[in-house]
């Protein structure tokens, strides 16, 4: 890979050990993908997981004097103020959280702690080159916004943030953004859950491909598109898709689909079969977890409307994970009060894949997110997966029939 004089000097450590480490990683990735050079990025998003390997890397860069060169938002770990009151946590888990937050603070990252920066506070424009980790981000950023990112891991996204550049390969290049599989949807689509189910189904089939959807409605909500991308990146490793008549880039391409692309059809029955494979069938539940990816303000309003003054079952804990911004808007508007009076907990800055939900391991829960079910299953919690309204009705009844 070609390096400019300045990039070479950074690699030799002339601008500090932190930048040297970051450059070393970008060069290794660039060489692996035979990138010709580095290109500038305008923003980054780092999946701050509070797992030790990730924190170790952030600490090494921070100790080496590195600072983020572009706007860099951060994924949620968990909210200390909220969970230190109600969850049993080890000294190690608490100290790892504080180490992680401290390292990213020293790096000059924006401590936004939300997994949906792309609809919130780090929104690239059409054509911008960026480096976003968090698996739900590349599908939204590439497909809906028409900006350009590869499917970054947290270390490479942070290295790009520090250098302000990324290797020029993959989805940064025009030719690599065309679809290689056509998906004809013959099922009716309404609401985020149905888009999520479609995403899980198609992700299993296309793996790391770029699907081109036909037959979807013209005006999907942002929540529907968030769920579609998040689930395509859960059962598969999809980083980009096109929707005919909806996403902006396909219409600008002469041939948005590669010639000879496979065509798959998806009907109601296919989706029903996939749901049956992923979801538990029912029983008494101990928790309902919503907000993976983080709920928007509009979804919090919808939760309050469905609750309609009813209280949830005393044996059920209802968590709704969201951004700090949406939580504050819900507080101001009275929506938070409705949910809390029903017995629900609205929590910011927190990811489902964290030790704060340990007490639900080995029990049955409800969620509207396949991604949530997938990651929590690794930790021994099972889920009935269904739409938001059904989840809330289950929280009130205490069971799924």
């Amino acid at each position: 890979m070609y390096l400019t004089k300045r990039e070479e000097r950074i690699l030799e450590g002339e601008e500090g050990e932190g930048k040297r480490l970051a450059m070393e990683l970008l060069v290794a990735i660039g060489e692996a993908f035979e990138a010709e050079r580095l290109i500038p990025i305008t923003r980054a998003h780092v999946a701050t997981s509070a797992q030790e390997g990730d924190t170790y890397w952030a600490e090494r860069l921070a100790k080496g004097g590195a600072r983020c060169a572009v706007r860099t938002t951060t994924n949620p770990p968990w909210d200390y103020d909220f969970f230190s009151r109600i969850a049993e946590l080890t000294e190690y888990e608490i100290s790892l959280l504080h180490r992680t937050v401290d390292a990213y603070r020293r790096l000059g990252a924006v401590l936004s702690f939300s997994c949906t920066p792309y609809v919130l506070d780090n929104v690239p424009s059409f054509g911008e080159h960026v480096a976003f980790s968090e698996s739900s981000a590349p599908p939204y950023v590439n497909s809906v916004l028409g900006a350009r990112t590869n499917r970054e891991g947290s270390p490479s996204a942070l290295a790009s943030a520090v250098i302000g550049k990324t290797p020029y390969y993959g989805l940064h290049i025009d030719e690599n953004r065309r679809a290689n599989v056509v998906v004809k949807v013959e099922a009716s689509m309404e609401g985020p859950f149905s888009y999520g189910l479609l995403g899980i189904h198609v992700g299993e089939i296309v793996g790391s491909g770029i699907p081109y959807f036909r037959g979807l409605p013209r005006n999907p909500s942002k929540e529907e598109l968030v769920y579609l991308g998040a689930e395509l990146a859960t059962s598969g490793s999809v980083a980009m898709y096109h929707i005919e008549g909806v996403t902006p880039e396909a219409a600008l391409m002469e041939e948005p689909v590669e010639s000879g692309a496979e065509v798959i059809e998806v009907g109601e029955e296919d989706l029903r079969d996939t749901l049956e494979r992923w979801s538990e069938s029912g029983g008494r539940i101990s928790s309902v977890i919503l907000g993976c990816p983080h709920y928007t303000y509009e979804q919090l309003v919808e939760v309050a409307r469905i609750l309609g003054g009813r209280r949830i079952h005393p044996d059920v804990d209802l968590y709704i994970l969201t951004s700090r911004h949406a939580l504050e808007m819900a507080r101001r508007s009275g929506v938070l009060d409705v949910i809390e009076r029903a017995g629900g907990r609205v929590v910011a800055d927190t990811c489902i894949d964290q030790p704060v939900f340990r007490k639900y391991e080995g029990t049955l829960g409800c969620t509207d997110s396949f991604k949530n079910a997938y990651y929590r299953t690794r930790r021994g919690q099972k889920f009935v997966i269904m739409d938001m309204k059904s989840c809330i009705e289950a929280a009130i009844r205490g069971e799924v029939r």
Partner: protein, 138 residues
């Protein structure tokens, strides 16, 4: 025998080969013993500790691959080097962050040629199969 490859990260090293026919995820190794735990896997029950690991590729999400290799290193049970037929961004990141030499795209598929215990030397972009202490100065 000398096989040309592409060094992605790290210095020259040598050591005993440990050969996997299947993609690997470091999260599925026990950090305290270095033993790979995944069932029905060609590395199942073998220790990665201090070995030159020869694999087709990595697998699994970025967070667990990195944390798995990090935990192995923290217990001094990381492999000495990784030779991959193809390295993805996640495997590259894990090796760079933890400091494990990584080389990929060898001209020949070494997972089919090498056996456990063969002595392997990585020198620049070359993989040399030979005698202990034959090439590198210590």
């Amino acid at each position: 025998m000398r096989v040309r490859a592409k060094k992605l990260f790290g210095g020259d090293v040598e050591g005993e080969a440990l050969v996997s026919r299947d993609p690997i995820n470091f999260y599925l190794a026990d950090p305290e013993t270095g033993v790979y735990l995944e069932k029905n896997h060609s590395l199942g029950g073998k220790s990665l500790s201090g070995k030159v690991l020869i694999i087709p590729s990595g697998k699994g999400s970025s967070v667990v691959q990195l944390d798995g290799l990090y935990q192995l290193a923290r217990h001094n049970n990381a492999p000495r080097a990784v030779i991959a037929n193809v390295a993805d961004a996640v495997l590259v990141s894990a090796c760079v962050v933890v400091g494990v030499t990584l080389i990929h795209k060898p001209e020949k598929d070494l997972t089919r040629i090498l056996r456990d215990g063969d002595w392997v030397i990585i020198k620049g972009d070359d993989i040399i199969l030979g005698e202990r202490n034959a090439v590198l100065d210590h």
